[in-house]
């Protein structure tokens, strides 16, 4: 995924320099913007492969920038937020951000998220089967295998797993999952989601208490990990 271009929208020059240095040394082409306005102009003139957007911008609220971008820009947007901003994160994810990073974050995590978002963006969405380490999902026949043995899933468990598999590496918010699997009328009934996640983990994880595939994102949602994060 080298030579992919990344736009960094952050008002802190120190953070911009750090991100630029890190990403540049990993083969990415970098654009920088210090304000929301600059960021929007930059995306319009040279649409990058991915945008890193800080939510706490001085001129325009990061959420506004996200909204403007999502009116036409479809490449991945990863938001950067300060600690304890769960509400902000959920809102941004529900408004079309692909992923999030909480300051302070490790470089390895940043690179992994960028790779995952770019891979997702370029991958073929209409595959009939998908494999994730020991797990194989046959979307055509709705069959899930773990270490080649078929595992029995209820219809809801399957829908949930298939949704995760199609959004590998991406954080899916509670709301989104409820809406997609149970329908809009169940958006506030997160108790079903909790119970089915626990149930699904028992079937697909080697150790349901130390899940490797279905990861809890505290207060936000769940993330499906297909492969080891630093493959």
């Amino acid at each position: 995924m080298n030579n992919a271009s990344v736009l960094i929208i952050d008002d802190e020059s120190q953070i911009r320099r750090l991100l630029a240095l890190t990403l540049h040394s990993n083969g990415y082409k970098i654009f920088e913007a210090a304000t929301g306005k600059e960021g929007l102009t930059s995306v319009a003139s040279h649409p990058p492969d991915l945008v890193l957007l800080d939510l706490g911008l001085p001129d325009e609220n990061g959420h506004e920038v996200l909204r403007h971008l999502r009116e036409w820009y479809t490449n991945p947007i990863i938001i950067i937020s300060v600690q304890s901003g769960e509400e902000d994160i959920v809102r941004a994810l529900d408004n079309g951000a692909n992923d999030y990073l909480v300051k302070p974050f490790r470089t390895g995590e940043l690179l992994a998220r960028i790779r995952s978002a770019l891979r997702k963006a370029s991958s073929e969405p209409n595959v009939p089967t998908a494999s994730f380490q020991d797990l194989t999902i046959d979307f055509v026949n709705r069959i899930v295998r773990k270490k080649n043995a078929i595992i029995k899933l209820t219809a809801t468990e399957y829908s949930l797993l298939a949704l995760f598999a199609r959004n590998e590496g991406k954080v899916l918010t509670h709301q989104y999952l409820l809406n997609q699997v149970w329908g809009p009328s169940h958006e506030n009934q997160s108790q079903y989601l909790r119970v089915f996640i626990a149930q699904l983990r028992k079937k697909v994880e080697n150790n349901p208490n130390r899940p490797e595939h279905i990861i809890t994102e505290s207060g936000v949602g769940y993330r499906f990990i297909g492969k080891a994060i630093d493959e």
Binding site: S84, Q191, F196
Partner: protein, 335 residues
């Protein structure tokens, strides 16, 4: 008023001059509890009442004898002096109390700033010093020295971050701006998610987790409860030796979520057990790296959930935290 009514009935028995003393006592008692304005009003009013109802000729404001006139004047002066003096004493008391409180808070903030400046400056000093060393002394450092300095910087940064997070949490709790985002929580997931975050801290400890299979879901703020468990376990690791067994239990007892985190370490100094949750309290001789905020944040967060937390020493060895929270629960079964 009530006293004057009583006086009306008994003044034939005791004479109107004794009634005056009864009224004076009443005004004095009032002065101990009320502000200066109502007390002065009471003093004036009682003088008028005494004149109107008791001094002959009764039911007029005129005063018959010169002796009574003098008495009325004296009554009036005594009532006034009484009211003013009592008020003054109360004011002095108030000032002394305020001064005392101020001294206490100065002492509190001195402790706070000492602790904070130590806890924040130590990692900052480490970072600045290590970076300086790497920048100016690079050619004389071996590869291993450089790696060591970098790892010092890394440890110090995480410590700094932890302190800042504690301070932010404390400020949020104190300012009362912490808003709970309660949602259904799978306690099992909550516990294991926190343990996963603590993996590197727990490598040298033994763990036992007991969560009943049929434990219902509880409505809690997942992120904040994660912070609670995180701080409690970090606290255990700071005060117990390696190989200590940490037991985490959850249960539903009388509609309440009960969570227990116990260890078989040294136990808590029995005399100071009540102070454990106080802000900036630290056991004497404990390892550096804490601000004494962790447990007070835990208490604040549990109380924000309308719950309670207690700490006790176990009969044989070690200590145990017990959290109890009464909140909505749900026994949804997957279908």
């Amino acid at each position: 008023m009530a006293v004057s009514v009583v006086g009306l009935f008994i003044h034939n028995l005791i004479g109107y001059r004794v009634v005056a003393f009864m009224l004076l006592v009443t005004v004095s008692i009032l002065a101990m509890f009320l502000d200066i304005v109502p007390v002065l009003t009471a003093a004036i009013l009682s003088a008028l009442i005494w004149d109107l109802f008791f001094i002959p000729p009764r039911f007029t404001l005129t005063v018959g004898t010169a002796e009574d006139r003098l008495l009325l004047l004296m009554y009036f002066i005594i009532a006034m002096i009484n009211a003013v003096l009592t008020n003054k004493i109360r004011q002095i008391e108030k000032e002394a109390k305020a001064k005392d409180e101020k001294e206490k808070s100065v002492k509190f903030y001195t402790t706070l700033f000492n602790s904070l400046s130590h806890e924040l400056r130590t990692p900052i000093t480490t970072i600045i010093g290590s970076v300086d060393n790497l920048q100016t002394n690079s050619e004389r450092l071996s590869e291993k020295d450089k790696a060591d300095l970098l790892s010092e910087i890394s440890v110090a940064s995480f410590r700094l971050n932890q302190q800042v997070e504690n301070l932010l949490n404390m400020s949020r709790l104190e300012a009362g701006v912490l808003s709970l985002k309660k949602d259904w929580c799978d306690i099992n997931d909550l516990i294991y998610k926190t343990l996963q975050r603590l993996e590197s801290n727990l490598q040298k400890y033994k763990l036992a987790v007991h969560v009943p299979e049929n434990l219902p879901l509880f409505k809690l703020d997942f992120g904040l409860m994660e912070q609670v468990i995180y701080n409690l376990i970090i606290n255990v690791t700071q005060h117990t030796p390696q190989d200590t067994l940490i037991t985490i239990q959850a249960d539903c007892i009388k509609d309440r979520l009960v969570m227990m985190i116990a260890d078989n370490g040294y136990g808590f100094p029995e005399k100071e057990i009540d102070k454990a949750f106080d802000k900036f309290y630290r056991i004497k001789g404990s390892l550096p790296g804490g601000t004494g905020l962790g447990l007070s944040i835990v208490k604040g967060l549990v109380e924000a959930h309308s719950g309670s937390i207690k700490l006790e020493n176990l009969p044989v060895r070690g200590s145990k935290f017990t959290i109890e929270i009464l909140t909505e629960k749900s026994y949804v079964k997957p279908s």
